[in-house]
Every structure is written in structure tokens, then in C-alpha cells.
């Protein structure tokens, strides 16, 4: 190339060096694979989705948070120090007790100070203050408030309880002296399962109607699409209110709960049905589905072998994203006194206490249920996002 430079510009422009790469050429190198590639290439759809999902850190942590919350569902009685309806008439509207570790510079382990109460005669209210001399260490793996586990077996074992004769109101109490923290733990049982049961109903309906509309098309598709459009045009909250107001007052709490989930599920399926339909329509046009048809496969085989596996992951993702709206729906209805009622406890029922703004300004801890609701709804949204990103591993 140096002599190239010495020549005149014209010559350099016309004389081009014929360069040949000196390294030996082996066309087979591109077909060799490393062990990691081999592992990846033998991985099924679900494995690749899991690897992809794991990379979405926010979604993974949301999943962990949700698992912790859902632990309250089976073990509410054990986790909560009191039962949801235990009343302490000595401590009405008691403020949250904070947990301390050191008493007068000495380490004692987690404990709370006892509460002194006196009546403020001006406002005619109980006023609570910490009694700095009364150290009440928290007990662990202890026997305390009695309950019926799952409504079946009697028990009194708790993860942690207040000191003998003491109190442990981590988030304060309400107007009847019921512990807010225990209420939240019990409330999770209903609030968190409403979404799951509702979504199950919604998935069944959505798959059924979306499947019919997407695979058979024609009149069925038209009819279902019009019904969906009508349902979507109805205002959601008034409809919920009307339907839940129609639930008989005489029903037991369990029936009310199921009635409520069915209402939420019945009104949620159109979105899922549309997702199923559009996914089916696009998958039906995939060449591998056509190939199966041209090989003589019957519709049942095409649907089960080629179409269903293709969109099951999408259905899971969109279902996850519709759980929060169910949780919020239940909360809204119970808050408005149209859903669950005492003695059932859900986060909406607990919030019912906070309907009066003047009460909330004086006893702000009544708003505590808002915090788990926000966390759970956000976590479901992040988790759903992660699932949706991972849902199509071949893109």
C-alpha cells in the first residue's frame, strides 16, 4: 500500500490492490455450537420465557412481593396477633404503637411501650400516650388470642403476640378497638382472592367467546363483537353498584363474596375475549397452522397443537394485568357499603371506616389499608408487564 501512495493520484485511483484474506477458510465453523447454545436450543417455550422473565428485575421482585402478600391468605390466623373482630374496649381509636429495640440505652429486643389513656374533657375523646416505664416485649411463637383456623379447627398459636396483659396495635385500632394490622392480614384473604376467582371466571368466558369468535368467524364473530361493544359502552361503576345492590341482604358472607366475584368476572371478560380473538386470528394465518391444515389436520388438532400453545402465555399475561382492576373493584364496592360487610373483612371493608373526612383527619391510621392496595396493584402491573414481555419468546 505504500507504493500506492507514491504514485500520482490518477494512477492511484485506477490501480486497486487485489487483497485476499490470508486466514484459512472453513465454511463449517458456523454450524458448530457451544454447550450453552445447545442448552438454549433444547429449551422449551416455557423455559425460554422463564429466562427472559428473570431478566426483568422489577417484575421478579414484584412477584416476590406478591408471594409474601399471598402468604397471608392461608395463614392469616397465625400471622395476625389478634382476630379481625376482637374488640378491646379499653383502646378505642388507639394510635399505632411503634416498635423499639433499646430501653434507656439498654438493648431489650423488639418491644412496645404500654399506653396510658385519659379523657380529654374538651373534645370528649380518649387521648393515648406512651408509658415510658411500661416495657412490653413482643412474644414469638406464642399462644394468645383464640381463633378457628380456616373456620374449622380451634387454635391459639400466633407468630407473634403482645406481652401478657399488654397490647400490640402496630397500626392502631378503629372505633370499636379492633386491631387494624390484624384486620389487614385477614382482609388480604378476601381482597386478594377476589381477583383470582374473578379472573378465572373471566378467563373461562373470554376463552370460550373469544375462541368462538376467532376460530369460526362469520355471524358468531359479529354477534360476540357487538355484545362486547355494548358491554364496554356501559359505565362500569354504576353497573357494579346496581348488580351488587341486587344481591340479597339475607345471603351469608360467603355467598355475597361469590356473588361479588361473579359480578366482577362477568363484567371483565370482554377485554380478554378480544385479546383471545385477535391472537387466534393472527395465529390462524401463521404458515405452520396452514401447513397442518394442508397435511389434513382436523380443526381440533390445529387448535390444540398449534393455536393454544401459541397464545396461552399471552392469556396468562393479560389475565395478570386484569387482576388489579378486580381488586380495586371489590375495594370500591365494599368502601361504598355495597360489597362485603362485617363480619367479613376485606381491605375495602376496613376502608369503610374512613369514609368520614373529619374522622380521617383525627385518626389517620384508618387509611392504612390504602398502602397494601397500592403495593399489590402496582406489583401486579409490573408482574404483568414482565410476563407480557416474556410471553412471546420467539420475537
Amino acid at each position: 500500500m505504500t507504493d500506492h501512495l507514491d504514485k500520482k493520484p490518477e494512477a492511484a485511483a485506477h490501480e486497486v490492490e487485489h487483497y485476499v484474506d490470508p486466514t484459512p477458510f472453513n465454511p463449517a465453523t458456523t454450524e458448530e455450537l457451544s454447550p450453552e447454545q445447545e442448552r438454549f436450543y433444547q429449551a422449551s417455550q416455557w423455559q425460554i420465557m422463564w429466562w427472559k422473565f428473570k431478566r426483568h428485575k422489577l417484575a421478579v421482585w414484584s412477584g416476590v412481593v406478591l408471594i409474601l402478600f399471598y402468604l397471608c391468605v392461608p395463614f392469616a390466623e397465625v400471622i395476625a396477633p389478634y382476630t379481625a373482630n376482637t374488640r378491646d374496649s379499653q383502646h378505642l381509636y388507639a394510635p399505632p404503637q411503634s416498635v423499639h429495640l433499646f430501653h434507656e440505652g439498654q438493648f431489650v429486643g423488639p418491644f412496645v411501650y404500654g399506653m396510658k389513656s385519659e379523657v380529654d374533657l374538651n373534645s370528649m375523646k380518649w387521648v393515648f400516650s406512651e408509658d415510658r416505664t411500661d416495657v412490653q416485649p413482643i412474644r414469638y411463637f406464642c399462644f394468645g388470642d383464640e381463633y378457628q383456623f380456616w373456620g374449622l379447627w380451634d387454635g391459639s398459636f400466633h407468630l407473634f403476640c403482645p406481652a401478657e396483659g399488654g397490647t400490640l396495635f402496630l397500626l392502631g385500632t378503629d372505633r370499636l378497638g379492633r386491631d387494624m394490622f390484624s384486620g389487614l392480614v385477614y382482609g388480604a384473604r378476601l381482597s386478594l382472592t377476589v381477583g383470582l376467582v374473578g379472573v378465572t371466571i373471566s378467563i373461562v368466558l373470554g376463552l370460550f367467546f373469544g375462541g368462538i369468535a376467532g376460530y369460526f368467524g362469520g355471524i358468531a364473530d359479529n354477534l360476540i363483537q357487538r355484545v362486547i361493544e355494548i358491554m364496554r359502552s356501559l359505565p362500569e361503576l354504576p353497573l357494579w353498584m346496581a348488580l351488587s345492590a341486587a344481591l340479597p341482604v339475607t345471603w351469608s358472607p360467603v355467598w355475597i363474596y361469590f356473588g361479588l366475584t361473579i359480578i366482577l368476572g362477568l363484567l371483565d371478560w370482554p377485554g380478554l375475549a378480544r385479546a383471545v380473538r385477535s391472537k387466534l386470528l393472527s395465529l390462524r394465518e401463521e404458515e405452520y397452522a396452514k401447513a397442518a391444515v394442508l397435511m389434513g389436520a382436523k380443526p381440533k388438532r390445529v387448535i390444540t397443537r398449534h393455536l393454544l400453545p401459541g397464545f396461552s402465555s399471552h392469556v396468562i399475561a393479560s389475565a395478570t394485568l386484569s387482576i388489579p382492576s378486580m381488586i380495586l373493584g371489590e375495594t370500591a364496592l365494599s368502601f361504598l357499603n355495597l360489597g362485603l360487610r362485617r363480619p367479613s373483612v376485606s381491605w375495602g371493608v376496613l376502608l369503610n371506616e374512613a369514609q368520614n373526612i373529619s374522622v380521617v383527619t383525627v385518626y389517620p391510621w384508618l387509611m392504612a389499608p390504602v398502602i397494601p392496595i397500592i403495593i399489590v396493584v402496582l406489583a401486579f402491573n409490573f408482574l404483568g408487564d414482565g410476563l407480557r414481555d416474556a410471553a412471546d419468546p420467539y420475537k
Binding site: 500500500m1 505504500t2 500506492h4 501512495l5 493520484p9 492511484a12 485511483a13 486497486v16 490492490e17 487485489h18 487483497y19 485476499v20 484474506d21 486466514t23 477458510f25 465454511p27 463449517a28 458456523t30 454450524e31 455450537l33 447454545q37 438454549f40 436450543y41 433444547q42 429449551a43 422449551s44 417455550q45 431478566r55 401463521e286 404458515e287 405452520y288 397452522a289 396452514k290 401447513a291 397442518a292 391444515v293 394442508l294 397435511m295 389434513g296 389436520a297 388438532r301 397443537r305 398449534h306 400453545p309 401459541g310 419468546p393 420467539y394
Partner: protein, 639 residues
């Protein structure tokens, strides 16, 4: 270094790429896409950058345009642009901020690019005039009316039929060829020093490709600019390039003038690549030499194979006068009238047992619709498709139940796109035994044996059966698709553009595989393709389709060496050959006339509504010439 200096000293090289390496930082680690690449684009010359998919040629073009994605890092080397017009000083593009003002000033002004896909590279929301004029407004400091003037001038230069009207046209009003012309106008409007053409004709039909190549050549000589032509097609290279750079896996394999590389290829890769391209000059018995040849082991499959009972040479499939119309919905709110597009107009085809019939046509010619009709994947409006099951020809529309299943066994399709035709959620084993399951053939262990012998039939390792399709390259997937099609011992294979999505080196491999299978298993093929050279290589007879009609049909040699129909002639003359001695005859290109039946010369002229009658103009060589039929009819009455 040397190139860069040469560029500064004598101002000869508009672009000098020196020791360029580009790394991609991905989740799997660092991937080197471009490895120590050195080449230069001299002033007023065309340099072709040739490589297969994944070779890094697009990364190089992105580097020059400053369009590399954020995950890409230039780890060494420089890319020096020296503008011969002196408008800017020589600058190392690699060192500029990709989003900075200096890069923006270069991009679209001194360096511009034409993309591959004209359908998606224009915004549908703006008029052609606005989109082309945008670059002038940004870079040339002119006002609206002046920009419009310049745009119109540019549209005239790229041979728009009516430049003034085209200014206010929206992209959807233009054909693919015109859109690509608009793209070229947009790239040229600032009179760039360097034009990068990234596969500018790959998405276009062959006659339009020739026009666009001609246009690029003309505009280049008129505006005195340098062109970096990125392509995988040696035919395009031979017709366009002064110098050629061959790239493989990010490394330059060979570089030199077109003359040097075509007459004296030195590197094994280039030699192999040139041997893998089919051309019209090959003898009938000559075989392509793929870079990675595969061995066909058909012994397992031959055992217990039910042979086709039709004697060789007898008609196996007879397509009689089929017509297919697609209804178009009128856009009017109250009008319910429907208009029709005739996709197939009285098509007649006979496929003889043991032969390979090539069906050639440009996009929209109806060749895929014809294939679908033969597969009974679609209802036809008129005519019949008859298939010989060994007991005479029977209309396939009458088949039901077991007879239809039997037909589905005998006739198999090989798809164009090897990526979407395999279910990504099934292992290769499941893919291969699926046809057997559908037809209820064999026990599970027999099916497993069958899957293994199918794999060895197409030269793949039986260990791959546990893998999923995403682990295979395009060529390997296509081989799996072929294996699946052969699982049921078919007699007749319909190949719908089986190689058009593949690289040239893989294309040769698949073509040879299909040829070997046909020989070993006594198969009959209908080979649908837009690529005349490929069809010439594999087919015994060729049928040419245009606008839903068969215009010419005959022996391959006969059609290629003695085309009678004007459309076939135009098609053949537009195919760029990978040979410097047979350049395209740009002067003979007739602007867009060839595919318009109403403007064909007599006796070939075809008005709407006239039956496209095939006349045997020479022995076994039929041509659609309605005029001739009338003449003969007249002769007949006269006699």
C-alpha cells in the same frame, strides 16, 4: 491509515474505512460484527460490498451513516469522509457523536442512503414532495417554494412520469418501483458525495430492478458522486460495480476491481460463492457447487415406499381453465357494488409425472394463487384441477373424506419462509412426526425411526431432533421443512419459492437437495419462483405467468434461448447475470411496458375480457397469442 492519508492528500477516496471493528454488547456478551475492515470508495466510482446475511455489511453502512444502535461500539479504526466538493473538511465519522449536530449536518446532506424496502421507508402521512424537500429545507437554507422547485427537478431526474403531479402524491398512490425512485430522489437532493444503496433492488421485481439499476447509474454519472452498493446478488455486482469488497462474518475475504474478482477469484470463499450462483450459461448436466454440500441418504426412505402408479411423462396434474377472482369492497358508504380482481384468468397447466415444471412470474402474477388452487387450499371460480391417482384424472374438488386425506398425503407443499412454516413451540421431532400422527401412520417407535431417517435424508444430524426450530439457520430450517413434506411419501411436491428467503450459498444447497430427492424418490415438482436463473437450473419445462395468465410455456432450453412472448423476452433481458461479459442492456429497457398486456404488440396484445389462448408456435412451445388464433381461424375459414 494509508487510505485515510491518500484521501487527504490527493482527494481521490471519498470514503476510506481503515481497520474498522464494531462490537455489539448484548445480554449474551460481546459480539464482533465487523472485524478489522479496510476499504475505500474512490470518487465517482461504485464499490460493491457483497456478503450474505449476517456478514456485517449493514453494520458498516450504519457506521457510515452514524446510525449504529446504542449497543454497538466502534472499538477501533476510522471511517474518513472527504468531500470532493470541498464543502466540508475530511472528517472521521466514527469519532463523531452519533446524535450530535455535526453528524446531523453530514447525514442526508453529504452521505445519504437508499433502503431496501421502498414500501416502508416512506412516511404514508406526507406527500412525496414534502418528504423529498425536507432534506433541502434542513441543509440548503432555502425557502418552501425553492425547495419545491428543487424537488420537482429531482423527480424529473429520477424519471418520474409527471414530476409536477408527483409532488403532491402520497406514497400509497405509487407502485414499488416509483417509490424506490422517490427514495433515490430523496437521497440525491442534496447532491451527496457518497450514496449508500443498501440492497436497493432486493424487494423489487426483476424488470423494475433493472430500471432502478439503470437509474442509479445515470444519476451517478450526472451528479458525479460515489456509490457504495450493498448487495448479496452477484448479478447486480457484475452490472454496477467498479470495485468489489467481499465480506464474510465481519471480515473482508477479498477486495479488488470487478475485473480482478470475477476473472481471477483467489479466496476459497469467493470461488465457492461464484460457483454457487446459477446462471443461464450452465449446461443442463452441470451442477452447482454449494459451500456446504450435503449428502442425501435416501435408502431408508425408499424401502416400503408406495410408488406413483402414473407412467413417467403422463399428466399427473392437469389444470384446466381455472379462473379465480377476488372481490374488492368499494369504499363508498352507500354503494354496495363489488369490483373484482382477476388473479387467475383461464389458466391451463399440465404437470407430467417425473418432471419439474417451473412457474415463473413477478409479484402479483398469480403464481402463488395457482399453487394454492392445486393444493385445494382455496375455492376456484371456474375450471377444474385434476389429479391422476393412478386410475385416471379426477377433479380434486370432488374429493371428500378418505379420498381427500389420500390427496393430502400425495401432494405436499414446501413453504417460502422457513421461519414461519415451523411451529416454534414444537421440537423438530414433533414437527416431523406430526404428518404421521395426522394420518395415523405407524406406531410411536416406527414414527421415531421415520423421523431419524428423514433427518439423515436431508443431511441433518439425528441428535438435532430434540431441538426447537429457533436454533437452526434458514437453510437448515428449509431442509426440515422439506423433510416434513417427505414424511408421508408424497408423489408431488409443490415448492413455493423455497429459496427466495435464503442466501446464495444455501440456495445452491437446497436446489441440489431438491434435485437429488427428485431423482432418488421419483418425485414430481411444481417449482414456483420469481428467479429465472433458479428455475432455469432446476426445471425441465417453464411456464411464464403475467397478470394471472400463462403467457408462455415450453421446454426450459427453448424458453430461455428462444423466448417468443414479449413479456418473457423482457423478463429474460432484465435478469442481471453474475458475469462481466454479459452486461444488462440498459438501453433496451422499455419503461414499465412489458407487464401491461394491453400494450403488447400484435399478435400478443391482450385486452381485458379476451381469453388468453395458448398457441403452439413451435413444437411443444406454447405462447399466448390471441391475435394469432384469429388469424389461424381466418385461415381455417378461408381454406
Amino acid at each position: 491509515m494509508h487510505y485515510a492519508e491518500a484521501g487527504r492528500d490527493d482527494n481521490v477516496n471519498v470514503l476510506s474505512v481503515e481497520g474498522l471493528s464494531v462490537d455489539f454488547h448484548t445480554a449474551e456478551g460481546k459480539v464482533r460484527a465487523v472485524d478489522d475492515v479496510t476499504f475505500a470508495v474512490p470518487e465517482n466510482k461504485t464499490v460493491a460490498l457483497v456478503g450474505e446475511s449476517g456478514s456485517g455489511k449493514t453494520v458498516i453502512s450504519q457506521t457510515i451513516m452514524g446510525l449504529l444502535p446504542p449497543s454497538a461500539v466502534i472499538s477501533s479504526g476510522q471511517v474518513v469522509l472527504s468531500d470532493p466538493s470541498g464543502e466540508i473538511d475530511p472528517v472521521d465519522i466514527g469519532s463523531l457523536d452519533r446524535k450530535g449536530a455535526r453528524m446531523r449536518q453530514l447525514r442526508g446532506n453529504r452521505v445519504s442512503i437508499i433502503f431496501q424496502e421502498p414500501m416502508t421507508s416512506l412516511s404514508p402521512l406526507h406527500t412525496i414532495g414534502d418528504q423529498i424537500g425536507e432534506a433541502v429545507l434542513l441543509h440548503r437554507n432555502v425557502g418552501g417554494p425553492e425547495a419545491r422547485e428543487l424537488t420537482q427537478e429531482m423527480l424529473r431526474l429520477v424519471r418520474f412520469p409527471d414530476p409536477k403531479r408527483a409532488l403532491d402524491a402520497y406514497p400509497f398512490e405509487l407502485s414499488g418501483g416509483l417509490r424506490q425512485r422517490a427514495m433515490i430522489a430523496m437521497a440525491m437532493i442534496c447532491h451527496p458525495a457518497l450514496l449508500i444503496a443498501d440492497e436497493p433492488t432486493t424487494a423489487l421485481d426483476v424488470t423494475i430492478q433493472a430500471e432502478i439499476l439503470k437509474l442509479i447509474k445515470e444519476v451517478q454519472s450526472e451528479l458525479k458522486m460515489s456509490v457504495l452498493m450493498i448487495t448479496h446478488d452477484f448479478g447486480v455486482v457484475a452490472n454496477m460495480a467498479d470495485e468489489v469488497v467481499v465480506i464474510y462474518h465481519g471480515r473482508i475475504m477479498e477486495r479488488g476491481t470487478a475485473q480482478q474478482l470475477f476473472s481471477n477469484p483467489k479466496h476459497d470463499y469467493l470461488k465457492a460463492l461464484l460457483n454457487a450462483v446459477p446462471s443461464f450459461h450452465m449446461d443442463k448436466d452441470e451442477r452447482l457447487a454449494p459451500i456446504r454440500p450435503i449428502e442425501v441418504k435416501a435408502d431408508d426412505l425408499k424401502q416400503g415406499r408406495t410408488e406413483c402408479k402414473v407412467a413417467p411423462g403422463e399428466p399427473l396434474v392437469d389444470v384446466k381453465n381455472i379462473t379465480k377472482r377476488f372481490g374488492l369492497r368499494k369504499s363508498g358508504l352507500f354503494s354496495s357494488s363489488k369490483s373484482f380482481v382477476t388473479a387467475l384468468d383461464q389458466v391451463n397447466l399440465t404437470i407430467r409425472r417425473g418432471e419439474c415444471l417451473g412457474l415463473v412470474g413477478e409479484s402479483g402474477s398469480g403464481k402463488t394463487t395457482a399453487a394454492k388452487a392445486i393444493l385445494r387450499a382455496m375455492e376456484i371460480d371456474e375450471g377444474a384441477v385434476c389429479y391422476n391417482h393412478g386410475d385416471g384424472l379426477r377433479d380434486i374438488a370432488d374429493l371428500t373424506g378418505d379420498d381427500l386425506m389420500d390427496y393430502r398425503r400425495r401432494v405436499q407443499l414446501i413453504f417460502q419462509d422457513p421461519f414461519s412454516s415451523l411451529n416454534p413451540r414444537m421440537t423438530i421431532n414433533d414437527v416431523l412426526i406430526e404428518p404421521l400422527e395426522i394420518h395415523g401412520i405407524g406406531t410411536p417407535s416406527e414414527r421415531a425411526d421415520r423421523a431419524r431417517s428423514l433427518m439423515s435424508l436431508v443431511g441433518l444430524d439425528a441428535r438435532f431432533l430434540r431441538r426447537y426450530p429457533h436454533s437452526f439457520s434458514g437453510g437448515q430450517r428449509q431442509r426440515i421443512g422439506i423433510a416434513r413434506a417427505l414424511a408421508l411419501n408424497p408423489e408431488f411436491l409443490l415448492c413455493d419459492e423455497p429459496t427466495s428467503a435464503l442466501d446464495v450459498s444455501v440456495q445452491a444447497q437446497i436446489l441440489n437437495l431438491l434435485q437429488d430427492l427428485k431423482r432418488d424418490l421419483n418425485l414430481t415438482y411444481l417449482f414456483v419462483s420469481h428467479n429465472l436463473a433458479v428455475v432455469d437450473y432446476i426445471a425441465d419445462r417453464i411456464a411464464v405467468m403475467c397478470r394471472g395468465r400463462v403467457v408462455e410455456i415450453g421446454e426450459t432450453r427453448e424458453i430461455v434461448s428462444n423466448p417468443l412472448h414479449p413479456y418473457t423476452q423482457a423478463l429474460l433481458s432484465a435478469v442481471p447475470e453474475p458475469d462481466l461479459n454479459t452486461p444488462l442492456d440498459f438501453a433496451a429497457l422499455d419503461e414499465n411496458r412489458a407487464s401491461e398486456p394491453a400494450s403488447w404488440p400484435e399478435p400478443f396484445r391482450l385486452e381485458a375480457g379476451v381469453a388468453p389462448t395458448l398457441i403452439e408456435m413451435e413444437p411443444e412451445h406454447f405462447v399466448c397469442a390471441p391475435g394469432l388464433q384469429e388469424a389461424r381461424a381466418l385461415e381455417g375459414t378461408a381454406a
